[in-house]
Amino acid sequence: MEHRPLKPGADTREHLVVIGNGMAGCRAVEELLARDPNRYRVTIFGAEPRVNYNRIMLSPVLAGEKSFDDIVINDADWYAANGIALVAGDPVVAIDRAAKTVTTRDGMSESYDRLLIATGSDPFIIPVPGKDLPGVIAFRDMDDVDTMLAAADAGGDAVVIGGGLLGLEAAHGLSLRGMKVTVIHLMPTLMERQLDEAAGWLLKQALEARGQTILTGADTAEIIGDGKVEGVKLKDGTLIPASLVVMAVGIRPSVALARDAGLAVGRGIQVDDHMVTSDPAVLAVGECVEHDGQVYGLVAPLWDMCRCLADGLVEQPSGYRGSVTSTKLKVSGIDVFSAGDFSGGDGCEDIVLRDASRGVYKRVIVKDDRIVGAVLYGDTADGSWYFDLLKKQDDVSELRDMLIFGQSFASGGGAADPKAAVAALSDDAEICGCNGVTKGQVVSCIAKGAHSLDAVRGTCKASASCGSCTGLVENLLALTLGDEVQAGPKTMCKCTSFSHDDVRREIVAQDMRSIPEVMQQLHWTTPDGCSSCRPALNYYLLCALPGDYVDDQQSRFVNERLHANIQKDGTYSVVPRMWGGLTNPTELRAIADVVEKYDAPMVKVTGGQRLDIFGIKKEDLPAVWADLNAAGMVSGHAYGKALRTVKTCVGSEWCRFGTQDSTGLGVKIERMSWGSWMPHKFKIAVSGCPRNCAEATIKDFGIVCVDSGYELHVGGNGGIHVRATDLLCKVATEEEAMDYCAAFIQLYREEARYLERTAPWIERVGVDYIKSRIADDNTGREALRARFLYAQSFSQDDPWAQRAEGAEREHHAPMARFTPQEEMA
């Protein structure tokens, strides 16, 4: 681009010099011209050798959907027609505020009356080794796009560092251009600033389905290559080959010029409500500024700022009050929208709609009857409506029940009551899309006696598949029957309309593999569940996918997360495993040493024949376990929904009444079943004769030895409601006793509801059912046993040993220590 002569000539107007030929700088000039085209003589300096173009459209250029000419905002004629001098490709490198001049890299000097800084932002380059290698670029301007296009022509692998908006657009474009793309993202979910966890998870699934590799929670260690980039190495040692690396981890306001000129600079160039910096002759606008502590990286606030800036320049000041931002983008044809604050918190209510069949997730956050945030995935048609309500702070209490269905539904016919809305539907309106059931069919099925949700599901199949129409069916029940609706089985918790049994069935039927997936597919009404459903889902997935499912520690109760029992004073109690209740001098010494070394105030013999060490501090737990491990002891799982203890009596080896080796059998059973996670705690006992000293008839699984073999008892409980066991059957050998025990545990693991002990479970399903599965069905029992042993092959790693070796240290060590006195010293 040629340099136009900058002779002021006879022009006596004030001279406005703009540093930055980007979106903010030019928009500010446009706004100014719209108000008073003749007030200022304008000169614009741009670093890039181009006219002003729409930077946010670089992605479509990369993707091949648009050309550079398509994204030009103001062509050369615009500058000429408005008498604007453009100096492109020669950036301003210094400002002299005393002399009121700017100087360019090529040495050109220009004086100003008013100076506008619109330098935008610089891409943040993470300081890893290899960051300067050829082939490592940012995604900021047309030159970067040209580099990417050249790399794509050569083909091969590309790595995009950063799974935010910009990074995903770069990845999409490179992918369309035929490169094999891997996205490396430091955070656990994509676009965490714009999307909540659920939407981020959906986006990851969709992008992976389109062929990109997405690595979340991945930290870049270095970029490797000899003379040019060859790959990216992660901190966990993974090496990803790449001929191109795009860094899109974020942007920083470009403030160097302003700082060198002595202007007030925080995170950005600090401006007042009229975009005036600490020097009244100097203004600043766009991504380079900090207003009221905020910096913005989106285009909408920039338009707001430019309006206020222009108002000030023509002396009709309006004042900028900050912007509420929204993000709407389309990646790989996936619509995503977010606006406002979606972090939830006090007084906030979440309204969530999940439609698994359409791949839609919508969440609107309401506080004090006003929308404060929205996240939409898959269907963003109502984004602008929500954003409008949010910006205007309209009272939405009238619309509340219909809000999530969108504008057309909520404003339709003034029906502010979901029941009225359902009533207004015609008889042939489809209620259940999965099974093609109309409103008329549902109503007639209710009229014929289906008076509960379950009955409707069972007869006409409405809401029996994905469940997204559950609310509609419930409204039809209420509408048709009034108060006669029968409550169905209790739902799992307030987050879902499904029962425990429904959820388990669907996890297996749909092969669901993670908690967010279950929440999406089954239309959870909260973004990340609650303390009731999360541990249950974690267990159901663990049970369904042995060896495959990655346990979610944050969905476990504290005792299972810390492998010890929390006590009322916040300390923990520790129970090492003593197989069958047997111990020896080494173990006893180790326990005694631990008690003294860690100053444990109490040791108690438990009801299950173990020693419980009380008063251990959270920080000391790994060291305590290391000491106990050293003496050969492992976790006793006294803290878990798991096998607790196998209690035994001394049996035929010592007792004059003993009929079988009850201690030996108890040890074998405990060795077989320890470490297994279950719906609730599980206790076993083996008594050597019918005198039953081990109290086997109040255990979940009890064995009473008799002369001719082994009586197997199930479903006992010694808790609040004492329940004696039911006799399951009698077997002849130890092997059979163990096989039946394994099969029973697996049946319980697979079919009982989370937090349901064997006693209420058996009362619910009937002991005859248990007999039919365990005693009467040899093939079935053998299959149950095999599944149990397979699951056990993954669960018999001592969690204490892992922690003692330093795993998940963060659960035990404080993040920081603060000593006020030290600070004073």
Partner: protein, 112 residues
């Protein structure tokens, strides 16, 4: 490090939907939480009910469930949610360049 704010470490050191503690010499711990959406909050590590360690609870939405009796405590205000009544002192938090800073004065006051 005399100042208004105490630098306690990197945001990433707090597990998502989890918590870490800050030990205050001569006082109660401060629990620092990180929600699924990446927001960080700090509260005295003590449930208003029976003084359970909130840092050991399950974090969901903008609340934590106390490990002792499942009271739900708002992370932003410290107030018990639902029908329960009570409040845990909160400590202002800010994030600067990936570092977590907690308000010094509030920390001393809460932990005292």
């Amino acid at each position: 490090m005399i100042g208004e704010w105490l630098d306690i470490g990197w945001v990433d050191e707090i597990p998502v939907r989890g918590s870490r503690t800050v030990q205050v010499a001569g006082g109660d711990d401060i629990a620092v939480f990180r929600t699924a959406e990446g927001k960080v909050f700090a509260l005295l590590d003590r449930c208003p009910h029976k003084h359970g360690r909130l840092s050991q609870g399950i974090v969901h939405g903008g609340a934590v469930a106390c490990p002792l009796h499942n009271w739900r405590i708002s992370l932003s205000t410290g107030e018990a949610l639902g029908d329960d009544k009570g409040c845990t002192p909160t400590v202002p938090v800010k994030i600067d360049g990936g570092r977590v800073l907690i308000c010094r004065a509030s920390t001393l006051k809460a932990a005292a």
